[in-house]
């Protein structure tokens, strides 16, 4: 399969990338690792006329300790998030979950910023970063702004990014020792999650239970009220809008969400 024709542009800096995006407008798409966008282009589900390759922006690949939070460059690959000693120590949920994305080859190319900006509700890291209450930094031609992750995911493949805005950094607050867990159910090893669950302390989020990553608000409320993991998990599907598709019916996803939230809360409690 071959993508439809496009014009390839290589950005040498974040500033140049934003300028190119402003020049070409809605015909252009940013390309990071390409492991979400290129498959869609090969299937002709996406057909941008201009591709702005961010692969040269090496200065947007980093994981640094900023005291209260860890700053992660948007072009940091899943492989580098997975193997970051700093993240393993300070935010083990994120390092672990990055190591569950796809397979080794995919993790050698895919980036954390690409995964977040693509905003596929079946992707792991958006829900994980929602559980971690991350803040996203975006840059446009008018400068940079911070976006709380709770405001970022708007609907299927739709985010709060304005046209041409470039996601440059993910800021993850250091969790205060609370337990964590990431659970993912797939048919085959490298598949997207049929359902996934991330837990960090009292925050519980769901992969693939609606058009965006979701907080399991009823579970969080039950936990705050002192419910046991099993009792809290019974509320996992409340307020969700899971789809039925070739992999699973909505009812099956709702069942899985309760099972996986129960496992996640139990594992998180054992680590707290």
């Amino acid at each position: 399969m071959i993508p439809s024709s496009f014009t390839y542009k290589r950005a040498g800096s974040a500033e140049e990338a934003c300028d190119l995006a402003a020049e070409y407008g809605e015909d252009a798409k940013y390309l990071a690792g390409g492991h979400s966008l290129l498959p869609l282009m090969k299937l002709r589900l996406a057909a941008p006329e201009v591709i702005i390759d961010l692969g040269g922006l090496r200065d947007l690949s980093y994981v640094t300790d900023q005291g209260s939070h860890i700053a992660i460059g948007a072009l940091t690959r899943h492989h580098d998030v997975e193997h970051s000693d700093l993240l393993a120590r300070e935010v083990p949920l994120l390092a672990h979950a990055a190591g569950q994305v796809g397979d080794p080859q995919i993790r050698h190319r895919g980036t954390i910023g690409g995964s977040v900006a693509h905003s596929d509700p079946a992707s792991d890291l958006p829900a994980v970063l929602l559980a971690l209450d991350a803040t996203l930094v975006a840059r446009g031609t008018d400068g940079a702004r911070e976006i709380p992750i709770g405001d970022f995911f708007q609907s299927l493949f739709e985010t709060a990014l304005e046209p041409g805005e470039l996601l440059t950094e993910i800021r993850v607050p250091k969790p205060a020792g609370a337990g964590w867990s990431f659970q993912k159910f797939t048919q085959r090893a490298i598949d997207w999650a049929i359902v996934g669950v991330a837990v960090q302390g009292g925050r519980v989020t769901l992969v693939n239970m609606g058009g965006t990553p979701l907080r399991a608000a009823a579970v969080e409320a039950a936990l705050a009220g002192g419910a046991s993991p099993a009792d809290a998990a019974a509320h996992a599907a409340e307020g969700t809008s899971a789809a039925s598709d070739i992999r699973a019916t909505r009812e099956y996803r709702e069942h899985l969400s309760r099972v996986l939230v129960s496992r996640a809360l139990t594992e998180a409690a054992s680590r707290a």
Binding site: S4, S5, T7, L38, D103, P104
Partner: protein, 166 residues
Amino acid sequence: MDSDHRGTESEQPVKVDLTVNGQQITADVEDRLLLVHFLRDVADLTATNVGCDTTSCGACTVLLDGESVKSCTVLAAQASGHEVTTVEGLASDGIMHPVQRAFHEQHGLQCGFCTPGMVMAIVSLLKENPHPTEEQVRIGLEGNLCRCTGYHNIVRAALAAAEVSS
């Protein structure tokens, strides 16, 4: 392979400059050309197979700057300025790479279609983890499918190559 400058037909070509198996290749290619097609059709290196073409099967696995990637999901233009290694580039002076030799000795292939990708995935795996357990090999090969289901001997080959290299 007698010229170092080759081209494909395109109205708006993009110039790429890759090092493939140690040899520099400069070419004007179509913007949308995938790395796997660059390797097969421009560089005339046809060991790398196109399998599923959907980032699933790993038959097209090559090394990009020493790390395994699926070349059906990388643009040739993205690889410009970087080093690519295919299975043709593993042997030196006619002596097989330890992973290739282990595949031979452990009979790590049946039909052979997945083999180039498996070999490259294992070379990358052993570079990152020179002494993997059997479980780590199996998890490390998540991204490579063998339709003959010949996984046992492939895993044995990976473990044997790790043994030889240690």
